[in-house]
């Protein structure tokens, strides 16, 4: 339990650092967010003076014609934290909605895609690693170096290739978007079927690209584990091969892979953000890109924060799984 608490402490600090970086970045940026906002909405409406001031306040910036002065940096930071506590991420300059609303629209798409693909890639990759190690020198083992091609390829290029092959050449699958335009978003079968169909290629890209890393990692640890004496002991006990492989060898060999989940998830998220553009996937990566090109600071800030916190949360879960799987960590924490 103390191990979990220590980790929790780390995650609290990490979250705090992420929140602070998020606060600092827009303030390092050139240009004035309000001007950017006005530039975006040029001609849409002539705003009253008070409306401008309200927007300026929401954007956390100064507008010299308004009565109030920009408060000191610490006051701003405090206000920012208070706003965060109220889940108030401000107003998007490009979409004319609140940032929270925009994120709520797009995050589920990305979270579902990344979550599903990463877990699938982890499971498949680990399985391949186990087989390759147990049948070292066999066909699976021999094909692992070829898999490293997918490890070296940038996500977006693989996405482009798959898109080219399956949609332009073969018209197999829908090329872009998250769902078909003819369905109504909600918990209905046509929508789910359409969403699933549209996510096949993005998911396949993610799985292909990240699977190789898991496989090779698992294979190498598994090979080392197989030469442990407890695996020999399990064989000497006359246990079935299946039992030896799973309960004795793989059960131990998977631990470093789980510990490496943090790094891999960060990479996967980064890859997904660019890949979403290729498929015009309605996820948070696309929105991020829109925010960057539109100099939409509040949206940018909100997205960055949400992604960081999501990855932190996923890592925390992976840590918990590790503690459950490795009893020794419980002891170490108790010492």
């Amino acid at each position: 339990m103390r191990f979990i608490l220590r980790r929790l402490w780390f995650y609290v600090v990490a979250a705090f650092v992420a929140i602070t970086i998020n606060f600092i970045i827009p303030r390092l940026m050139p240009g004035n967010p309000l001007e950017a906002y006005l530039g975006k909405n040029q001609g849409s409406a002539v705003l009253t003076h008070s409306a401008l001031c309200a927007i300026a306040e929401q954007l956390n910036t100064t507008y010299q014609h308004c009565g109030h002065k920009q408060p000191g940096i610490f006051v701003q930071y405090w206000d920012y934290l208070v706003n965060l506590a109220h889940l108030n991420l401000g107003v998007s300059a490009t979409y004319d909605t609140t940032v929270a609303h925009e994120i709520a629209l797009t995050l589920p798409w990305t979270a579902a895609l990344v979550g599903f693909s990463t877990i699938l890639a982890f499971a498949l990759g680990t399985l391949i690693g186990i087989v390759a190690a147990w049948r070292r020198g066999g066909a699976t083992d021999g094909s692992l170096p070829a898999l490293s091609f997918f490890q070296g390829i940038p996500y977006f290029f693989l996405a482009l290739l798959l898109q080219e092959i399956f949609t332009v050449h073969w018209h197999f699958l829908p090329s872009t978007g998250g769902d078909s335009t003819s369905v109504v978003v909600g918990m209905n079968w046509p929508f789910i079927a359409s969403a699933l169909e549209h996510s096949i290629l993005p998911a396949a890209t993610l799985v292909l690209a990240s699977m190789a890393g898991w496989s090779v990692g698992m294979r190498n640890v598994m090979l080392t584990t197989i030469s442990e004496e407890y695996v020999l002991a399990a064989q000497a006990k006359g246990l079935s091969t299946r039992r030896v492989v799973w309960t004795y060898a793989a059960r131990n060999a998977i631990l470093p892979n789980i510990a490496g989940f943090a790094n891999a998830l960060g990479l996967a998220v980064s890859g997904v953000l660019i890949m979403e553009l290729v498929f015009s996937y309605p996820g948070i990566g696309n929105t991020l890109y829109q925010a960057v090109t539109g100099e939409d600071y509040p949206l940018l800030q909100g997205i960055f924060l949400v992604i960081s916190l999501s990855v932190l949360a996923a890592n925390f879960i992976a840590d918990g799984v590790y503690v459950i799987l490795d009893p020794r960590t419980r002891r170490r924490a108790a010492d």
Partner: protein, 398 residues
């Protein structure tokens, strides 16, 4: 193979050996005949076990001693076919004739993986050298014990748990330790768990591979005492592998000495201790202090173990042997009975040794080269004729 033995009805740990209808009880429970194991490598075969023959009697404690690299562990693990690639059994036979085996015994070298899984642990189990390394660190010792029972005994969950508890009692560990993970136990406790584990499926043979080397002396003694007690209760045979000959002198019924992949001497413990018939054994005996005997100067054996890749013909020990002569290069390394009594079998591979316990003059090997040719032939069998010829030759020549 026909089923000649029906499984025991009760799983009581205290076995009634007399009631079993197994094979001839006078025959050895395990016999290794002309057994050879090599490690294949790009630089040629490493002959780790070279034409070794050995028998293990029922309920016997057989000590297997030798320096590291002598092939003692390879022999024991190889007999269970537990060695991993690049190990290869190049010849010989290992016959198992336990209580449940058919009368003619089972040739382990002819079994497939499925048959071997049935043999392992139920017939031959192993106590590994390092309990820490041979216990799976991430599952409880109870679950690991249960694994062993489940694989070999048709018991339901409750009975298995009961049996695990009985085994823990037997090995002297509190039952609640079943729920512990290996890292939560002390070194001695872990080794006791390994002993309980080895007894899980009620085997006929337990191989103990330096089971107490990693422990401190006090715990070592406790555990050894316990092993012998349990052995007396259950009646299994033990192959005790160690480099510590003094330990074997106290513990075992017979001792086999290995060197360079070859067997040099096998004798009842008393004989070996007082009437060693091989210069290597004498060297080993002189290299540690006796607990009870008179004080004497300790002497190590100069030199280092041989390179098994390029073993010269003849006796592997001869480069380090102070009595060595030209004839040692062509000695056939067959074991001959050198015992003076008919009841005891004392085998030695050195034909030049003046004889067990005798303080006779050492015959220079180069002088009696032709004796080897006369004596060579029968292996591991008592050959009174050979002894006679030696005796006459000796009388005549001196």
């Amino acid at each position: 193979m026909k089923r000649l033995f029906s499984p025991k009805k009760s799983e009581n740990l205290l076995l009634d050996l007399s009631g079993s209808s197994g094979p001839d009880l006078d025959k050895p429970v395990l016999s290794v005949e002309d057994f050879s194991i090599v490690y294949r490598s790009a630089h040629g075969d490493v002959k780790a076990v070279d034409h070794v023959s050995l028998e293990l009697a029922r309920s016997e404690v057989l000590g297997l001693a030798g320096e590291s690299g002598s092939g003692k562990s390879t022999l024991a693990y190889g007999a269970c076919r537990l060695l991993r690639s690049p190990a290869l059994i190049t010849g010989g036979k290992v016959t198992y004739a336990g209580r449940r085996a058919p009368r003619e015994g089972i040739d382990i070298t002819s079994l497939n993986a499925h048959e071997l899984r049935q043999l392992r642990w139920k017939e031959i189990s192993i106590v590994f050298q390092s309990a820490m390394n041979s216990l799976n660190p991430v599952i409880t010792v109870g679950a690991q014990l249960d694994d062993a029972i489940k694989a070999h005994m048709p018991l339901d969950k409750h009975d298995r748990h009961e049996r695990a508890g009985t085994l823990m009692d037997l090995a002297g560990i509190p039952r609640q330790r079943l729920r512990s993970y290996p890292h939560e136990l002390s070194g001695g406790m872990r080794q006791r768990v390994m002993i309980a584990m080895a007894l899980a499926a009620d085997p006929d043979i337990v191989i103990m591979d330096e089971p107490t080397t990693a422990l401190d002396v006090v715990v070592q003694r406790e555990i050894l005492t316990q092993i012998i007690e349990i052995k007396e209760q259950l009646g299994f045979a033990i192959i005790f592998i160690t480099h510590d000959l003094s330990l074997l002198l106290e513990l075992s019924d017979r001792i086999a000495i290995m060197y360079g992949g070859k067997l040099l001497e096998i004798a009842p413990t008393k004989n070996l201790q007082h009437k060693a018939a091989h210069p290597y054994t004498e060297g080993l005996l002189a290299s540690f202090p006796s607990l009870t005997g008179p004080k004497k100067a300790l002497a190590g054996i100069p030199g280092s173990p041989p390179d098994l890749r390029s073993l010269p013909p003849g006796c592997p020990f001869f480069p380090r042997c102070r009595h060595a002569g030209a004839a040692c290069r062509s000695v056939d390394m067959l074991l001959k009975n050198v015992s003076k009594t008919l009841e005891e079998v004392h085998l030695s591979a050195c034909p030049f040794h003046p004889g067990p316990g005798a303080d006779k003059r050492w015959r220079a090997p180069d002088m009696i080269e032709d004796v080897i040719r006369i004596g060579g032939g029968e292996k591991t069998q008592s050959d009174p004729g050979y002894i006679d010829s030696l005796e006459t030759l000796e009388k005549g020549s001196i």
